[in-house]
Amino acid sequence: MAGDEIMDSGFGQILVNLDKLRTLVRQYVDAHQYSSALFWADKVSSLSNGEGQDVYWLAQCMFLTGQYHRASHLIRSKKLDKKNAACRYLAARCHAEVREWQQALHILDKLDLEARVGPQVRSDDGKDDKLQFDCGIPQHRVESSIALMRGKIFESLDNRDQATESYRTALKLDVYCEEAFQLLVSHHMLTAQEERELIESLPFAKQCPEEEVELVRLLYETKLKKYDKPRELEIPTSLDPLHENLDVVVNQAERNYYNCNFRTAYKITSKVLQQDPYHNTCLPLHIACLTELKKTTELFYLGHKLVDLYPTDPVAWFAVGCYYLTVGGKHDVARRYLTKATTLNRMFGPAWLAFGHSFAEEAEHDQAMAAYFTAAQLMKGCHLPVLYIGLEYGMTNNLKLAERFFKQALNIAPEDPFVLHEMGVVAFQNGDLDTAEKYFMDALEKVQAIEKEMLTEKWEPLLNNLGHVCRKLGRYEESLTYHRQALVLCPQNPSTMAAIGFVHSLQSHFDMAIDYFHKALGLRRDDTFSVTMLAQTIELYIGEMKPYEGAEELPEKFEGIPLPEYNVADVGDVKLGDVTAELKLEGDGPMMLESWGQDASTSSLDIEVEMEDS
């Protein structure tokens, strides 16, 4: 047996079974007793005179005990990195652990080609047999790990394009390499389109046994970007056995969140967190739901727990930052904590976006844009930062720039109803009503395709905007339908009521108009638009109407009162449903009656009065 070697040292013969020792080393590694493992691995490698795998395992043990430079030096001094891919990987890994990126990269790049060629070519080099060994990892996986490592190094060096490439290679080499996929997706390096292409291109069939092809593929698909368009909520049937699996459930929750069903998403995430209180993917989503639903007490408690247990995890500080954002008025405190989150992990997208939002809420547009720009750089494939930049430009009245950014967002995510909605608003502000209408209708279609019955109240501004557009185009009945739908979604909204009143007054239904303006004012007393319009409409109404029912029973010779003409100035800033208008009134008030005819009314009086004389 090869393992049994009789060593002849000066002290007599030591019969050592190297294989047993090797197993011993492995067992200690499994039991996390790394020091013991290191000791024995050292002895084994000396005993076997530096055989490849022993050196490899010795280096492993050094790595596991944190002695990175020692491990790297060992491998390189034995020239193992040149010959064996796994050793190279380990050496590079050691340097990466201590963040010596350049050194790591250097090691990986060396003799890259040679390693790729594979062990088969080595057969002619008999002398190097000693250095070949099976480290228990299939070759393609090793290569994939190398590519993954390379990608991580590139990312830390801010070379994102190379990083993306490397991750892609890693995935291609080993389809099961979920980490590469996860990094690609969570750091939003690819647009939705590219992600889908990637999945298509992966050689599932080659690397997976038959039955697993579907499973792996579907699991990856569930991780895909969900923010580009609202989607259906069911899980594909082949994943049914997994439907209790928390990852899959979280995916459900995320879809709900994007479709703006915040309560459903919250219920799902709460259940998940009951089962697994610190589930990584679920936590940011849960925090987001809590922020949307304004459940400050829960956020507070969660933030405290997370910070106590995982102070180095950016999610914890993200929770704290969100709490301060939700409570309101404590934006600088929130920012402090969000910065901490981003320092811990630069690529933590949600923290950057929240950071930008905190500026936006305080109307500090420049700072907000700076934050969003950083986010956009970091999350290339995600259209959300670009969308928010466009919003900020819109609020600072740079319509052209806003439009540009919205177009960019549209390029990245052509089917997102939020983006379409914003494009519509920009078109409206430019006065291009037809385009605006087209965009709004597009957005509405997309949303309605998913939520067949009742839209969530997030979409109430969209309906209101459609109403405004139709009104500008002169289609009053349509406008009324949209506004009413918006009212159904958000029943006590004074702007909607004012808008409906306005349409009615344009249609000369003054009594309805007055009614709605009263309601709007009842909800919000300082709305100048409603106040002005109410005064105008009352005057017009009273001018037009007869004093009481049946006033025309007395024969009268009045001509109809001609109404004054009036121009309605542009209704500005209809984003998010605000209605402000300047009303220019031309012409006088209602004109006085032309004729004071001799009515029969007087004659009837005569009859009455005559009775008295007799």
């Binding site: 109240e457 958000c490 029943p491 006590q492 007869k546 004093p547 007395l554 007087t602 009455e608 009065v609």
Partner: protein, 575 residues
């Protein structure tokens, strides 16, 4: 509209009532249960063998029975959210209804608790609607599965959110499924705004419909119809029902026939001294009649029964108002509103009090709240009109008076107010029309005629003006009301008028009348002098003074006999 000739099978009605009472009680609908029991008690008692069998519970309900029991007891002690939480997963109809209803009541309670102490400017209800919207979404998702009671709750939520059409649909289905649920009928009545809507409603043809129609007629101020309807109900066997009696009293009150209303309500109070339900109407009537002792007695007795009921607070408020202590009155009305912010009369009465205290802005607030609660309260519209009149915003004032008028087309006060507004806006023709209309619907204050006369005077319609003045003076003589200023102006005008038209007898008559009043004495005297001057030109003599002494205008033919002009100083007056 109502088929009054339909007989009601009282026995089956009573059985239905008994069953319905239990169903409502099970679900925590206590007010409806109270009403139903009262009507049931008004009917003859059933024989022991005739008692109806109660519907058996469905098996899924029996499974959830424990949860239901626990929840019901939490509901009874008003721990609404707790009750809802216990029942959160229940599926049977009764349990589901109780769960949703507890959530609704819980939300209401929180809203009531959260209201600021001072009822000045109330915050807008926007953020208070979040829980209503959640409720609505959930009910909407299960809409096709809901039973009658849950549909009623859905209708209530929709109405609160302002979605009237949907609310009406939901309530109609609720009523169709559970015709005895009086609460649902009441909610529906709140959504009916005018007669046309009422006719167009497709309510089931159940005997409860009679009650509903009576209630609606009263709400819509169709008082004669209401009286007929109530009489019909009494004839059919509900004559002992306190509700019928009380509503009859309300009808009389609306028609401003104070005596019968007061009688009926006093009867009710005597029958059941602990009944507080319509005592605030009684206090309104006593206030109008200024029956201080009675009102004081009523206030003390209701205070002893229960100090913290809306009706009691309204009564006491009226009492203080009658005594002139308006601040205290306002305090009590505010207390009434804290107990029940939707109690319409309290808002309106508080508005009146603020008007008395000349606090116009608070009055406007109060009236507006009254209108938000119930659009059909004509007193609130009228009050708003008055406040805007004080604020000198004539168009608004016109609009509000018009609304008030539309609610009560035959009430002359609204028309008079409208007329005055038009006058202020210088739209005299419309004003004339209003006054004319007011006169034709029996103006109780007698002011229409004189206003008409004045307006015609302004538009130089002398004939008409004279006619009106004449009618006015006759009316004031008949009615005995003496508005001295107006009367003397009337006489003055008439005298001048007849003088212009050379009708010297009439002129003399009225000139003499002028002399009765201090302010026009001088003018009267000068007129008489003028008249005598003219007469002497025409040559009439002592026969004229004779007729003057008699005080009746003698229509004597004016002879054209020339006489020598009698100098004025020779005339003697007999006063």
């Amino acid at each position: 509209m109502a088929d009054l000739k339909e007989k009601v099978d009282l026995k089956s009605a009573k059985k239905e009532l008994i069953v319905a009472v239990r169903e409502c009680r099970d679900r925590g609908l206590v007010q409806t249960a109270k009403w139903l029991t009262e009507q049931s008690a008004a009917l003859k008692p059933l024989e022991p063998g005739e008692f109806p069998a109660f519907p058996t519970d469905t098996p899924d309900f029996l499974q959830e029975y424990d949860a239901y029991n626990v929840a019901r007891s939490y509901y009874d002690v008003r721990e609404y959210d707790r009750a809802a939480h216990v029942l959160r997963d229940c599926g049977s109809q009764k349990a589901y209804f109780l769960c949703m209803y507890s959530r609704y009541m819980g939300g209401e309670k929180k809203r009531g608790d959260a209201m600021a102490d001072s009822l000045g400017p109330l915050k807008a209800g926007q953020d208070q609607c979040g829980w209503l919207r959640t409720l609505r979404e959930e009910l909407h998702q299960k809409e096709s599965d809901l039973d009658g009671y849950s549909l009623y709750l859905y209708g209530v939520v929709l109405r609160r959110l302002g979605l009237q059409q949907e609310a009406i649909t939901a309530l109609l289905s609720a009523i169709n499924k559970e015709p005895l649920h009086w609460g649902a009928w009441l909610e529906l009545a709140m959504l009916i705004n005018d007669k046309a809507n009422l006719v167009a409603l497709s309510v089931p043809n159940h005997w409860m419909k009679q009650f509903f129609l009576a209630h609606c007629y009263l709400e819509l101020q169709m008082n004669e119809d209401a009286l007929t309807q109530l009489q019909g109900l009494a004839d059919k066997g509900f004559s002992l029902s306190t509700w019928v009696k009380a509503q009859t009293a309300n009808a009389y009150h609306n028609m401003r026939q104070v005596e019968p209303a007061v009688d009926l309500l006093k009867q009710l109070h005597a029958e059941d001294p602990y009944r507080l339900d319509n005592m605030d109407t009684l206090s309104n009537l006593l206030y109008v009649k200024e029956m201080r002792a009675e009102l004081s007695h009523l206030a003390h007795s209701v205070c002893q029964v229960d100090k913290f009921r809306v009706e009691t607070c309204c009564v006491i408020g009226n009492y203080y108002s009658l005594r002139g202590q308006h601040e205290k009155a306002v305090l009590y009305f505010q207390r009434a509103l804290k107990l029940n912010p939707n109690y319409l009369s309290a808002w309106t009465l508080m508005g009146h009090e603020y008007m008395e205290m000349k606090n116009t802005s608070a009055a406007i607030q109060a009236y507006r709240h009254a209108i938000e609660v119930n659009r059909r309260d004509y007193r609130a519209w009228y009050g708003l009109g008055q406040t805007y009149e004080i604020l000198k915003m004539p168009f608004y004032c016109l609009y509000y008076y018009r609304q008030a008028h539309q609610l009560r087309p035959n009430d002359s006060r609204m028309l008079m107010a409208l007329g005055e507004c038009y006058e202020k806006l210088d739209r005299l023709l419309e004003a004339i029309k209003c006054y004319w209309r007011a006169y034709s619907v029996v103006d109780q204050e007698g002011m229409a005629l004189v206003k008409l006369a004045k307006l015609h005077e302004l538009i130089k319609e002398d004939q008409q003006a004279a006619a009106f003045y004449t009618a006015f003076v006759q009316q004031s003589e008949m009615m005995g009301t003496v508005d001295v200023e107006e009367q003397c102006q009337a006489y003055r005008y008439l005298a001048n008028h007849y003088l212009k038209h050379k009708d010297l007898d009439q002129a003399t008559f009225y000139a003499r009348r002028c002399c009765d009043f201090a302010s026009t004495r001088e003018e009267g005297k000068s007129l008489l002098q003028q008249i005598s001057g003219l007469r002497s030109n025409q040559g009439d003599d002592s026969s004229l003074s004779q007729s003057i002494a008699e005080g009746r205008p003698a229509v004597t033919p004016v002879t054209a006999t020339p006489t020598s002009s009698v100098p004025p100083m020779n005339l003697t007056f007999t006063s």
